[in-house]
């Protein structure tokens, strides 16, 4: 179903939610960097750029406590973090590449183990996606089967209209509820002119063909050729909307402290460093290979999807210019049916 909201009413909607005690998270400048962060008022929202970090942190924070411990005499007291206390949230201004990654994360966090932390935030969050009208040459959503108008993962999806307002696609019950609650602010779809969608330039990949090549090329000169220069940081994984590896550590003292979950990255040498001292991914190209394999093969083997939505963030920020779109294009070019 489609409806319309003016620019002014959209801001009123968000401000009403904020004053009503709902947590509204949107792209906002945070110490000089655009990040998804809770808004104090709708005017702080910045919608014309892709935030540096993806929207995954609304469900899967950079770092979170999962329990605390306290030792008194022979007793150890554990206190769980109660996901029921997580706030009801509206996540706004999510680009199609970020929104489409949310169902991709759902699959992994609700597979054999149900991650209550992720799933409770997911249940309590309504996602307002927004179509892209501009793209740069790092963007490649269209190459991985998505598009600047993709509604996957959004509950309500906005398409900017020439007059500054938005055409709204209601994509789920949550989206319907949001529109019903603010019904006076939405109006019937008149004679509106949606702005033209962006058109990323990277030609579409044949993802099945790429996977077919990966199935047979765990060992290949390509890995050294492309990734010997990889410096092994966590930048690409940390800005990625779909990467979801985490580490669990206890921090504190012998007497009391917290168990914490924080983002981890397969680019780090430490990631697969065993207690014995052995490291099965003993060279950087093997670590980078895992990044490609996980995104375009392993995840597909398990969940039937690709673990990359083409947001281009890793392409833009890699310190040494490693370009996943160029690598997948190269594999696509080599693959034989």
């Amino acid at each position: 179903m489609q409806t319309y909201i003016s620019h002014h009413n959209f801001h009123t909607l968000l401000d009403t939610l904020i004053t009503g005690g709902i947590r509204v998270v949107a792209p906002r400048l945070t110490a000089g960097t655009l990040l998804y962060a809770p808004l104090g008022e709708s005017g702080d929202m910045v919608l014309d750029q892709l935030p540096r970090r993806s929207a995954k942190e609304a469900f899967f924070p950079v770092c979170e406590d999962i329990l605390s411990y306290e030792k008194g005499g022979q007793q150890v007291r554990l206190t769980d973090v109660e996901p029921a206390t997580f706030p009801v949230t509206v996540l706004v201004g999510v680009r199609p590449c970020d929104a489409a990654a949310i169902p991709v994360l759902d699959a992994v966090f609700s597979w054999d183990y149900k991650d209550e932390f992720f799933l409770e935030r997911r249940r309590k969050t309504t996602v307002i996606g927004i179509a892209c009208t501009t793209a740069d040459d790092a963007c490649f959503c269209t190459a991985v089967g998505l598009s600047p108008a993709e509604t996957k993962g959004s509950d309500l999806f906005l398409t900017p209209v020439a007059d500054g307002g938005y055409l709204c696609d209601i994509c789920s019950e949550k989206g319907e509820a949001l529109v019903a609650d603010g019904s006076s602010l939405f109006t019937e779809l008149g004679n509106v002119t949606p702005l033209p969608f962006a058109s990323p330039a990277v030609p579409a990949f044949d993802l099945k063909k790429v996977k077919g090549w990966l199935d047979g090329h765990f060992e290949d000169p390509l890995w050294d050729g492309t990734a010997l220069r990889c410096v092994g940081c966590g930048a690409c994984a940390f800005v990625c909307p779909a990467c979801h590896c985490f580490d669990i550590v206890d921090e504190g003292t012998e007497k009391s402290g917290k168990r914490r979950k924080s983002w981890d990255a397969c680019g780090f040498w430490k990631f697969t460093h065993h207690a014995s001292g052995h490291n099965p991914r003993d060279k950087q190209p093997k670590r980078y290979r895992n990044r490609i394999m996980h995104k375009f093969k392993y995840y597909d083997d398990k969940f039937g999807q690709t673990l990359c939505t083409g947001c281009g963030r890793c392409v833009r920020i890699c310190p040494v210019g490693i370009d996943i779109a160029a690598i997948v294009a190269e594999i696509d070019g080599m693959a034989v049916e």
């Binding site: 740069d136 060279k283 190209p285 920020i317 779109a325």
Partner: protein, 307 residues
């Protein structure tokens, strides 16, 4: 005011690099050349290591040739096969890092073949690599560069450096602004910046001086620094980084360029450099020092802190 940086000589530099790299590989002077090549995106440039003369035609030099390639010669990057003498393309700031590594006995001059660049400046960031080089996009380090012409190289392309507009140094201004704040205000500023840190360690991984085989921050027996990106671990990491680089940092600003969270890391480095200049009259330069200012003692060193 003309804010455009004249880099019209970079095309001739690129030609010279290609010819020289082909020559030294062909004649067996070196076994490999570490240089720059173009990427897929418009204007993008990336590091490359070539081992055959035929590959030299892929090399380039542009305003997006930002990387300090010295990092690939450190023991932290031991995956990169090395034998014999290696050719490397260096800007002045990169050369200072190589010189520092020589001072720390990590590299020997005769193992290197230095191709020096008469450098007018590079981009601050490569998020948009096709951007024109103007005052606003120029790396802040280039505003205050004293090393446009690297010294003591084996080969320098025969081009002359175009005249450059005079630009106000930005680190000095920012340091002055921060120094004028109260300690509490200054701490609030850094706390806000460090709060953005996600512990991706890109800053560490690109730094030529972060060659420890196991960084203190990666050790867990005992755990010296909290690993999570929270205030305690982030502050500890940034103090460790700033202190371990003091008196060693060459000012290449790679750490700052690559930080995906835009944390002004080189500001801390510049502040440390300023202290070292004032206290020990030390500056990173083109001359190899056998002992850095923080691991040598001189009679004239300030001892007023001993009470």
């Amino acid at each position: 005011m003309n804010n455009t940086i004249d880099i019209s000589h970079y095309a001739a530099i690129a030609d010279s690099i290609r010819a020289e790299a082909a020559r030294i590989l062909e004649q067996g002077v070196v076994t490999a050349v570490v240089a720059y090549t173009t990427g897929r995106r418009a204007g993008s440039v990336q590091p490359v290591i070539i081992t055959a003369a035929a590959e030299a035609e892929r090399l380039t030099f542009t305003a997006a040739s930002v990387n300090n390639l010295a990092v690939y010669l450190t023991k932290a990057k031991k995956d990169i096969p090395r034998s014999g003498r290696i050719g490397i393309v260096v800007k002045g700031c990169d050369l200072k890092a190589l010189v520092g590594l020589m001072g720390e006995s990590q590299l020997q001059r005769d193992q290197l073949y230095l191709i020096g660049i008469p450098c007018a400046g590079v981009l601050a960031s490569t998020v948009r690599p096709a951007e024109a080089l103007i005052a606003a996009t120029l790396a802040p380090k280039c505003r205050e560069c004293d090393a446009h012409l690297p010294e003591g190289c084996d080969y320098v392309p025969a081009v002359s450096l175009p005249s450059a507009p005079t630009l106000e140094p930005s680190y000095a201004a920012e340091i002055a602004r921060l120094e004028a704040l109260t300690p509490a205000e200054r701490w609030a500023y850094w706390k806000e910046q460090f709060a953005k840190c996600i512990k991706c360690y890109a800053c560490r991984q690109v730094c030529p001086f972060c060659f420890c085989e196991q960084c203190l921050c990666d050790r867990n027996k005992p755990q010296m620094v909290d690993t999570t990106p929270r205030p305690a671990g982030n502050t500890a990491w940034h103090i460790v980084r700033a202190m371990h680089l003091a008196g060693r940092c060459a000012g290449c600003a790679e750490c700052e360029r690559v930080c995906p969270m835009d944390i002004p890391l080189n500001l801390l480095n510049r502040k440390m450099a300023k202290e070292l200049k004032e206290l020990f009259d030390y500056e990173a330069g083109f001359a190899v020092h056998e002992k850095g200012p923080l691991n040598s003692f001189m009679e004239k060193d300030d001892q007023s802190f001993i009470k």
